[in-house]
């Protein structure tokens, strides 16, 4: 390697190494943009709104907020209010989308056992939800165990009537 023409070989090696580094950075960019969708929603201007739920089930921070199936925001944080014993969820909503004040926020599940997300059902009022305001109408998560126990109790009650 030492006895090559130094000028020519240096230039060639520079080109090769430049290509190598560029390829590596392109791979990183591919991973960040295509595999992990950096910036497709996280960096846009957003406003915060709050909602209170009796039970949030398995909702997690960064879960999508959807309206009509379109992602319009993310769950920014989840807290607990020990005065009302309710969960306080703050939503980071895209600045472009505004919702009427009487909109309903529901905790929904994608598929039977899938991830939980928030669904916003738009209301009819003219006033829109502003930054930092609380959405009044909410619907808690459906907890499968409660459903099953309700079903079993009602079955047992039915059985008791027949006998």
């Amino acid at each position: 390697m030492l006895w090559r023409d130094p000028v020519k070989s240096n230039r060639w090696i520079d080109v090769m190494v430049g290509g190598f580094v560029l390829l590596g950075l392109a791979a990183l960019l591919f991973l960040a943009l295509k595999a992990a969708n950096l910036g497709s929603f996280s960096s846009g201007p957003a406003y915060e709104a709050r909602a209170r739920f009796d039970n949030i089930g398995g909702l997690k921070v960064r879960a999508p907020v959807k309206s009509a199936g379109v992602v319009v925001g993310r769950v920014a944080s989840i807290g607990f209010d020990d005065k009302t014993y309710q969960a306080v969820v703050s939503l980071s909503l895209d600045e472009r989308y505004r919702f009427p004040k009487d909109s309903t926020v529901k905790i929904l599940t994608s598929g039977l056992l899938g991830e939980q997300y928030l669904g916003i059902e738009a209301g009819v009022e003219d006033k829109m939800i502003g930054a930092g305001e609380t959405i009044a109408m909410t619907q808690s998560a459906v907890v499968l165990e409660n459903l099953i126990s309700q079903f079993l109790y009602s079955k047992a009650a039915d059985g008791g009537k027949k006998e």
Binding site: N10, I13, D14, M16, V17, G19, F20, V21, L23, G24, L25, A26, A27, L28, F30, L31, A32, K34, A35, A36, N37, L38, S40, P64
Partner: protein, 260 residues
Amino acid sequence: MTTWLASLGAWTIGAVALLGHAARFFLRLCAALPAACLRPRLIVDQLHFIGNRSLSIIGVSGLFVGFVLGLQGYYTLQRYGSAEALGLLVALSLVRELGPVVAALLFAGRAGTSLTAEVGLMKAGEQLAAMEMMAVDPVARILAPRFIAALIAMPLLAAMFSAIGILGGWAVGVGLIGVDAGAFWSQMQAGVDVFKDVGNGVIKSAVFGVICGFIALYVGHESQPTPEGVARATTTTVVASSLAVLGFDFILTALMFGAT
């Protein structure tokens, strides 16, 4: 009984001495890094030697690992009716674990051995001693540029491995099996976090670059200056780097993803 105790003691003292010696060598190497950064020419040459020449093996392995992940992942996922999550499975396993680890293992075999043999033969040919005679620090002139090149090349190679693997998984999953392409990408994008998954993968591979580069250079530098010595050193490099990479991978995974 005493001989048994004596051998245990000797082994312990030897292990501690080796650890201390390696740590001192590591500090010496780190102290020489600024001096090496003043000569980017040497680093670029080593990047070409370490990085470019490893491209083909990294690319081909990544592609086939992606193929196999696509096939096997589909086989398992379709039993539970969630074949759409194939993209997520392929991307997460590549970005978090397989990319950094397999790339590091290949790197140890492809580049680590050649570094060890090169440095070992330089030592056997008394080139390192000759440099010292001329008041040129061989650590700064020979070892540090190689170390920096390994540190730069490893994350790039791991990222390429992951990216090519994902494309391989996509080719098999979407092209061959017929998983819905939109679901493949959207599930992947919904489940892979830039900082938590991709970023930690990059950190991991940088750590592996330090490990592989350091072990290769240390073992080469400390090899016996004989043909057998260099041969043994090359073997030691592969074995020690692979074990260190796997061990550190567990520790790093536990630190990064264990709490969540």
